[in-house]
Structures are given as C-alpha cells and as structure tokens.
Symmetry: C2
Subunit: 313 residues, 2 copies
C-alpha cells in the first residue's frame, strides 16, 4: 500500500481528454486538498460586503483524473473515505435562476460561515445565533469520469456519478463507483462541510478541505450507478432529537419538493424570526427532503424535515 499526494492540478469539465495527474495501484491511499467549488472567488467576501459578481469560469475546480492500474469498464472502484478535515470556513450562495425556489428568491445572496475546529476535532457552524450546524464534511463530486471525448459541464450528475451531492458520503463510508473507461479516471471535487438532502438553495456549506481515501478495485463487479455503505447511524448529533416537517403533495414531484421547501421556509422564518432568504439558506444546509410516498397515484408526497437539534430555541 502506497500513499500518494494528488497533484494540485485542476480541470473543470468531464472529458477523457485530460492528462492524468497520478497513477496508482489497487489498495493505494490518496491524500488531497480539495478547493471549494467557487475556485477562490469568494475567499475575501465578508458579511456586509456587496455580493461579488459570479465568475462561472472559475467554478468547480476538480482534482484528477487519477488512473488506477488495471481498472476497466464494468469494474467497480471502492473508495474508503478515511478522513476529511475542513479549513474552517465556507460559504453558501443563492444564485439567480438556480435552486428549487428561483422565483421566490431572485437576487444573489452570499453567506460566510466560520467553524474553527474544537479540541476534539469536531466543529460547529453558527448561523445568525439561531442555529448551530454540526460540521460533517464530504465531497459533492466523486466519480470515475464518464466516457466522453466531448467536454461536459460538472453539472448535472449522471449515472456515472459526478455531482451527486449526497450528504452521507462522510469519513467512514465506503463508496462504490462504476468504472466507465480504462484506468477509471477517478475525479474528486466540491467539498461540503454540511448539507441537507436536496441542497435546496443550490449550495451547501461550500468549504475547502484536506482528505484521505483508500482506493480498492473490484474487477468484474458491475454496478449501474454509485452505491455506498455507511458504518453506523447516518447523522449522529443531528438526528438525535425531534423534527419539524412540512409536505408538498401533487402529481409533479418537482413541484411537490418545491412546495415542501417553500412551506419549510415559511415555518423557519416565522418560528425563529429569520428573514425568508436566511431561512432558505439554512434549509439548504440542514433540511432533508424525503419521498414519503411515491405510489398513491398519481400524487407524490415529498416531506421536508428540519432537525430540531440544530436550532437554538
């Protein structure tokens, strides 16, 4: 077993044309520093500053591709997520036209979070004295690159994986990725310090981190999309108390999800006396979207769950 440092070389599109930055063997460990998804353009923003104009060309710096010796299409790469250590700050943005409620929140907005590590290595991110969000870092983008010469944007995700933004891919979890091309072209990006299922306002706590993971190649094990196994309860310290939940109900599951979020924003802003924009940002970071039922045709029920353990009152 060898430990490799992933070179700090970034690319921004899915394509098999990228020159590999590293070659490793089955069982090796990767160490890396993942830059946050804005590529540094929000580093200097502080509360009260005007929101800087977004530079899309800087978004989504990605690490890799890392070639795994012997990996072939039809195999599976297992990533054992060993540890993720965030720098201690992050941002959450509302970007015009994006997120689940773009008509409700049409203007750009940026929130900066500070969450220095405590003595035991854990961290908590305060939100406007109303909530305390446990930091549980993960990578929003994890994939074996798709088999495409033509460059594709980092958004959206696809069956290969990519920008899957799954909040449970924290240290301790084992992630299984389908290999798409020879060598696997493993790619890592988009670190998050915390996020709710759905990532409703379009961003998480976007936060740079240092990480380590072990790569194992399963030859001949084929999976259609990413899968993962967690070592224990999903969200300890967050799901240990009660919840408040709202619902969206109707034939269009996208609209049902939007309704559930809209009613949750109403609940948070009225209960905790927060500006609706701040409630939307908080919802993106802590509120989970669950499909309560998908079969009472033709209507779906999407529920938005607020974990009360993170709220101060």
């Amino acid at each position: 077993m060898t430990v490799h440092r992933v070179p700090d070389v970034h690319h921004r599109l899915w394509t098999t044309r990228h020159t590999p930055t590293l070659e490793i063997s089955d069982g090796d460990v990767l160490e890396f520093s993942a830059p946050e998804a804005a590529g540094g353009q929000f580093d200097d923003f502080r509360p009260g500053d005007p929101v800087p104009a977004l530079k899309p060309e800087l978004l989504y710096p990605m690490l890799g591709p890392v070639m795994v010796d012997g990996a072939e299409p039809g195999d599976t790469l297992e990533l054992e997520l060993l540890d993720f250590t965030p720098e201690g700050w992050g941002w959450t943005a509302v970007l015009p036209g994006m997120g689940l409620l773009p008509e409700d929140f049409p203007d750009p907005h940026l929130h900066r979070w500070e969450f220095p590590a405590e003595g035991d290595g854990t961290a908590t991110a305060d939100f406007l004295d109303v909530a305390r969000v446990p930091v549980r870092p993960f990578l929003g983008v994890l994939a074996c690159a798709p088999d495409t010469d033509e460059p594709l944007d980092v958004m959206p995700p696809g069956p290969f994986g990519g920008n899957i933004d799954c909040r449970d891919l924290v240290a301790g979890t084992r992630v299984f990725l389908p290999v798409q091309t020879p060598g696997g072209r493993l790619t890592l990006a988009d670190p998050h310090a915390a996020q709710g299922d759905g990532e409703v306002c379009v961003s998480a706590i976007e936060a740079p981190l240092d990480g380590r993971l072990r790569v194992t190649l399963h030859r001949g094990r084929s999976i259609p999309t990413p899968q993962f196994r967690t070592p224990g309860p999903l969200r300890p310290g967050i799901e240990d108390a009660g919840f408040y939940a709202t619902m969206g109900i109707g034939p269009d599951v996208r609209l049902a999800a939007r309704d559930a979020v809209r009613y949750m924003v109403d609940h948070i802003s009225s209960t905790y006396r927060l500006d609706p924009l701040d409630a939307y940002v908080l919802a993106s970071v802590v509120v989970d979207l669950k499909i309560s039922e998908a079969v009472d045709e033709p209507h779906w029920v999407v529920s938005a769950y607020l974990p009360l353990s993170v709220m101060n009152a």
Copy 2:
C-alpha cells in the same frame, strides 16, 4: 376533556355528503379501531394459498367524519398521537399496474406477516428469516376531508392530506392538518405496522390497529398542507446501525426513484439470496427514498437507503 369512541361505521370516498359519525370538542380524545386497507378480504390468506382476486370495492374503509365544534376553514387541527396497538398480523401486496416497478413485477403477490407483541409491548415482524422489521404503527390516511360534493377516491392524497403514507406519524408525533370545511370532518384510515419512505411496492405492512389521539383546534392558524413534529429521533431501533444505499440519477425524478429502487432490489436479492419479488416487498417496508440533491440541473439524485439493522446477516 372527554374520551369518545369513534363508531365503527366506514365510508370509502372523499365527499362532504357523509353523515358525521361523531361530534367532539376542542381537547377531546378519540379512541378507534382502524380496519386494514383491504377491508378484510385478505384476512384468511395464508402462505402458499393462491393470491385472492382483489375486490376494489372493499378497499380503504375510513372512519369518520368526526365533527370538531367550532372548526372552520383556515383553522388547523392538531392530532396528538397517543398510542397505536396493532392486532399482530398484516399483509403486503404487489398489485398489477401499481407501485414504482409495475413492469418488473407484473403479477399479483401477497405476503402475510405475523408479529405478536412481546412482553414490553414492542413487536418485530420476521421476513423469511432474512430480516426482522421493528413494528412502528401509524395511520396512512389522516385528514380533514377536502371540500368536495363530488366523491373522490381515497387515492391520491392532496394538499388537504389524505392518503399521505408518511411513516413518521407514529405515537408521540403531533400532526397538524388544515381544516377544509366547517367542523373539519376528521377522517382516519389505512393503518400500517411498518413502511419505508416511498412505500415502493404500493403497500406497507397493512395491519389493523386500535388507537387513541387527542384533537386540539388552533383557530386562525392556517397551514397549506399537513405538517408534523416528532418528539425525538425519527426511527430508533432502525437507524441505529449502518445503511446500504443505491442511487437513481437523471432529469426525471420519477424515473430516478424507480432506478434507485430497481438497483436496491438487485442488491437485496443478490446479497441476501432472496427472490427479487420478495426483495421488492421488503424494500417497500424498510427502504427509504431520499432526494439527495434537487438542484444540479437538470438532474436529480434519488437514493434508496436500506437500514442494515433489520437484516439478519
């Protein structure tokens, strides 16, 4: 505070034409016996029997409507769920043309569960020696009746509530329902002993139960769809260990949910050597559908989570 027994009179359609079966006051408690959703037609089925032909006219016997003194449209009824005691048996069916995977499982199938209460009042439902499902009973149908003269089917649910099949409405939870018509016309039905988020094969552990709940009227508090508050962690005894999860990824969130379930059925049947049909039934009862991300446009990620605590190996 008065305790009322809800009369064992059943109706099967949403309409304001039903004669109320009970009138109560703010703060009163209801006691009731909720028949399972098949209306008794599967009572005599035992493993190995041919699946009886479905009699749709017997489906969904509902209790009520119960009139709450002073309730008016724009108010909210709070139900404090006090206790639910199942009889100790139930069924789960695959019904042709229904559920998330009707093409994969075109034939009717019926499974009978037995789960006698243990000494401490809890119960566990064994599934083919492969899984042990903790019984956490709830009502799939809870609503103030919609404002309609024309009769509507029990399926689907709507913004008023109805057939919402939300697995977290267990004893201890407080449910908030929007009042649609004078008196509220509170209606209760469709008891479940256990279910996963999504209820993917179209049924839960459908199981008759006795229950009690307290009704509180919030005059002038208006909510758009049902909401609820849980007293503690969502699913103790189920979510205390690890999970295995599969993903569906694409622009159609319905298809993404179907893919996630299909891959979970593959995982369960291959890992635990179960017939895919049995894996589908088990998934409906214990696997949860979460919307991992809804904003990496135009693709959604739906993840299906299997709680490993319920599996025997």
